[in-house]
């Protein structure tokens, strides 16, 4: 039995059906949205520019506390207050992250955004300010490059402050560089190792420890400009001389920024990178054990186009295996929750009454800001009363839209319980991929429990037979249709639909 194009497009390449939303008619309809510039991303709440300012402000405030002459207990209290604001900001962004996937009509784009963000894993748990920086990372370093080339994506992800902080690059100094000698500090290999092992060539692809160390040498000098919130190249920290990675020399006596950019470019275009990431994409979308022919076709498209990602996605979609043997992958917790909320047609502003306009400058709004919106300090609000700006209005609406859409018990807290908390991957390798990691006793219990609660809140009135049809279309198996239609009550019938193997596979 083979499923219809529309069903596989929705389940395998998207987040499932949402009532009333147009379905993708063909391959091009899946790919076209990759070219969107992503101006409607719901996070970081408040918008990119306000977030950059907020990051600078928090850095300043933390520095002022450290250098002030109040006693340690008072310092701790002030820091704790800031950390609480950061946590609240993170939670709001995480809510928006879920809402983004639920409400976007571009399922494949959203799934790819999740894939690449996981490929270039960074975590809000690394340092406190990362709670502000990681949402920015996905919004500006990942999403705009999803339909571009891998060399661009790699450069953008690697150079982002989130990555440089997460993998300790900000701590690495060339041992013989002026800064290294002066401060008696030196190399940190972390970014170099994960760059080779995870982000490009892949583990076991033949590079050596010497390659890792040399790559780390070439990366010295890159650090973060905390005020501009962007990567900065500091010559004084760069290890002088030339260093060989995979047989290629980078740098002369004078090291420049060009050396590491050249290294990133060479790694991005290395055939092993093409094979490693093509395989990873096929494993993520198609099967834990994808056919080699599909991986080869994707690798070839990559090499022919110097890493044009649209060509690689196209090669995956054009391979016959993309449209057969459905249901072998497990939906990960994020996929499951987003698909469930889409199936239930979660209304916008579900938690009416809890909505706070994070950019409002009236008294109530300002109070709300003072207590839980460090990302958009009142005096930095870019909305002067007398100057209505369409861009600003759009931004404001996006911020409102993102606020409190998904009740947290069904959203961010549920994801935490299921082992896939938003922007908190367990390691630089990201969340696990295999079926067994996500379908087991504990996970299934959580999913059944979630389904019951979500149905209780949003779905009580639906007819289970109709719900099953809208949610799974021709993917519903006969025995599932029978069990659902015989359920002792509506509530149970609806719960069984979201708990069914077909809904949890893709």
């Amino acid at each position: 039995m083979s499923l219809s194009f529309q069903t596989l497009a929705a389940l395998r390449f998207g987040y499932g059906f949402r009532p009333g939303e147009a379905v993708s008619a063909d391959r091009d309809a899946l790919l076209d949205p990759m070219r969107i510039s992503d101006g409607n991303c719901l996070f970081p709440v408040g918008g990119i520019e306000a977030r950059r300012q907020a990051i600078g402000n928090v850095a300043d405030r933390l520095r002022d506390i450290r250098s002030s002459d109040i006693d340690d207990a008072a310092k701790r209290d002030e820091q704790k207050a800031i950390f609480k604001e950061l946590q609240q900001s993170y939670q709001r962004d995480a809510d928006a992250r879920i809402a983004q996937a639920v409400f976007s009509p571009y399922g494949f784009y959203e799934r790819l955004a999740a894939f690449w963000t996981n490929h270039f894993s960074v975590s809000v748990d690394k340092t406190q300010p990362m709670k502000l920086i990681v949402p920015l990372f996905e919004a500006e370093a990942i999403r705009p490059h999803i339909g571009g080339t891998f060399p661009d994506l790699l450069r953008s992800a690697t150079q982002h402050p989130a990555m440089l902080i997460y993998l300790d690059q900000t701590q690495s100094l060339g041992p013989d560089s002026p800064a290294g000698i002066k401060r008696n500090k030196g190399l940190n290999e972390n970014l170099a190792r994960e760059l080779l092992e995870l982000h490009t060539l892949g583990a076991g692809s033949g590079y050596t420890q010497d390659d890792v160390r040399s790559a780390a040498m070439i990366l010295t000098g890159i650090t973060v400009d905390r005020q501009a919130v962007e990567a900065d190249f500091r010559k004084a920290a760069a290890e002088p001389g030339s260093h060989r990675v995979l047989g290629v020399s980078y740098g002369r006596t004078q090291r420049t920024e060009r050396d590491y950019l050249q290294l990133l470019n060479d790694l991005a275009l290395n055939p092993k990178t093409a094979a490693h990431i093509s395989r990873k994409l096929a494993i993520h979308f198609i099967s834990d054990t994808p056919p080699q022919a599909m991986i080869d076709a994707m690798t070839q498209a990559w090499r022919k186009t110097d890493g044009d990602l649209m060509a690689v996605y196209g090669a995956m979609l054009d391979h016959p295996a993309a449209w057969t043997s459905e249901g072998t992958k497990a939906r990960q917790p994020f996929d499951f929750i987003v698909a469930g909320l889409r199936a239930l047609n979660l209304p916008k502003n579900a938690a009416a009454g809890a909505i706070v306009d994070p950019l409002a400058d009236d008294v109530d709004g300002a109070q709300a800001m003072a207590s839980d919106s460090p990302a958009t300090p009142g005096n930095n609000s870019a909305t002067p009363d007398n100057a209505p700006d369409p861009q600003e209005a759009k931004r404001r609406q996006a911020a409102i839209d993102a606020t409190f859409y998904v009740p947290r018990g069904l959203g961010i807290y549920a994801l935490q319980r299921m082992g896939q908390p938003v922007w908190r991957p367990p390691s630089p390798a990201g969340f696990p991929e295999g079926f067994d990691a996500w379908i087991n006793a504990g996970e299934l219990s959580e999913r059944i429990s979630w389904a019951r609660r979500a149905i209780g809140r949003y779905g009580k009135q639906d007819d289970p037979r109709q719900f099953l049809k809208e949610t799974l279309a021709d993917a519903a198996r006969d025995d599932t249709i029978r069990v659902v239609s015989q359920a002792p009550n509506k509530m149970m019938g609806l719960t069984l639909t979201l708990a069914s193997p077909e809904f949890n596979r893709r």
């Binding site: 190792r193 367990p426 059944i448 015989q486 002792p488 069914s500």
Partner: protein, 394 residues
């Protein structure tokens, strides 16, 4: 029947402290197996590559302090002297009474056969699967061991959390221990779920485990207990299960990937390990402790020289810890390779002089009578049991 809580399907999650740099699961699962007899075996996987040279410091080596100016200690700087050559990190000082009672030992300069690539993910796979090279074995060595233990008719294993750790995953049955988020399914509703999954083996198995686990759930639980988030909770739970019919337990401690400013991070992780061992001992009580062996091990060691940011990078030779009333400890075991430049592995790491699997094999042999043939073929392919003999009398 809706209120009939005959099958309160549930589970309980353990949130580990958030350490993002090691290849650690978000949760710390605890896995258990039941065995005949009184002997008990606990494995603790130290995820992120513990710096053995920090935990058990060779302060007797002349060059040690200069190789690690910010990390190395000495007895006059808080290091707890063990034998005049090695000293214990002060964060583990509470283990000293165990050392004196010969209930604690360390084996230095050990590693798995994984020697030159230093990836956490491959390293942990090797440590837990027990294979001779990466991806040779797909199941965990502790799970394979279950099938070889003589007279074991009830080889029941139990898993707390969303996933089994690789070390105890495999064909032998695993239950899930659970306690909160009861959602009170009626018996009829449970039947519908069972029917829903009847034709899908993977889901049917998960459902079956979730249901059976509920019986076990009540065993380890005390009314009103909070969800465990601390290593003490995890260790106490493991010990409580070991006081019932379970004889094997396994869990992880995260936080050992110390690339930056190691001193603070290591103190926390070493403190966790210390607390875990002490909690196991105190919860088990003297009688059960007498028959218990704890083996804490890690995927690889770290560089002998400290790096440019007061931390250490991925290395090879490491250290493992043995504890329990069943061991004859009070010694640092293993062949010490030295840390002069020419003695290092690839000019950076402590040279491994023993295979951590040799120690694990010896413990399975002495605790559960697992035969040498099974140990070197089914459980640890390619291992020579001769080399395990030095650990049999520990």
């Amino acid at each position: 029947m809706a209120d009939d809580k005959a099958f309160p399907l549930s589970r309980r999650g353990f949130l580990a402290s958030a350490c993002c740099l090691a290849a650690a699961p978000i949760f710390t699962p605890v896995t258990f197996a039941a065995m005949p007899g009184d002997n008990r075996f606990v494995t603790i996987v130290l995820r992120g590559a513990m710096d053995g040279l920090d935990l058990v410091q060779p302060y007797g080596e002349l060059s040690f302090a200069s190789l690690r100016p910010d990390i190395a200690l000495a007895p006059d700087k808080g290091l707890v002297d063990l034998d005049g050559f090695f000293g214990l990190h002060p964060a583990a000082a509470d283990l000293l009474p165990l050392w004196k009672a010969k209930e604690l030992a360390f084996v230095h300069a050990v590693s798995t056969p994984y020697r030159d690539a230093r990836s956490h993910f491959d390293g942990q796979d090797m440590l837990e699967s027990g294979g001779d090279h990466v991806a040779e074995e797909k199941t965990g060595w502790l799970n394979r061991a279950l099938a070889t233990i003589p007279r074991s008719t009830a080889r029941k294993a139990i898993d707390i959390n969303t996933s089994t750790e690789l070390i105890l995953s495999g064909p032998n049955v695993v239950d899930v221990w659970a306690s909160d988020s009861n959602f009170g399914m009626g018996a009829d509703e449970m039947q519908f779920l069972t029917r829903l999954y009847a034709n899908d083996p993977a889901f049917a198995k998960a459902m079956d485990e979730a249901t059976r686990a509920d019986q076990s759930a009540k065993m380890g639980e005390e009314p009103g207990t909070k969800r465990g988030e601390q290593i003490i909770d995890v260790a106490a739970l493991a010990a409580k299960m070991l006081l019932r019919e379970y004889r094997i337990a396994s869990f992880s401690i995260n936080g050992w990937d110390t690339h930056v400013q190691q001193t603070a991070q290591f103190r926390k992780a070493a403190g966790d390990l210390t607390q875990a061992v002490l909690t196991l001992k105190s919860t088990l009580g003297p009688d059960a402790w007498k028959t218990t062996v704890v083996l804490a091990m890690t995927e690889f060691g770290r560089t002998v020289r400290q790096n440019g940011s007061g931390g250490t990078d991925h290395g090879t030779g490491g250290c493992c810890l043995l504890a329990g009333g069943a061991i004859n400890g009070g010694r640092v075991l293993g062949k010490w390779p030295g840390i002069k430049d020419e003695q290092l592995f690839e000019d950076r790491d402590l040279m491994p002089t023993a295979d951590v699997r040799e120690i694990a094999a010896a413990m399975l042999y002495r605790q559960f009578d697992v035969g040498a043939g099974d140990l070197t073929s089914k459980i640890f392919p390619g291992l020579s049991f001769d080399k395990s003999s030095q650990f049999l009398k520990v």
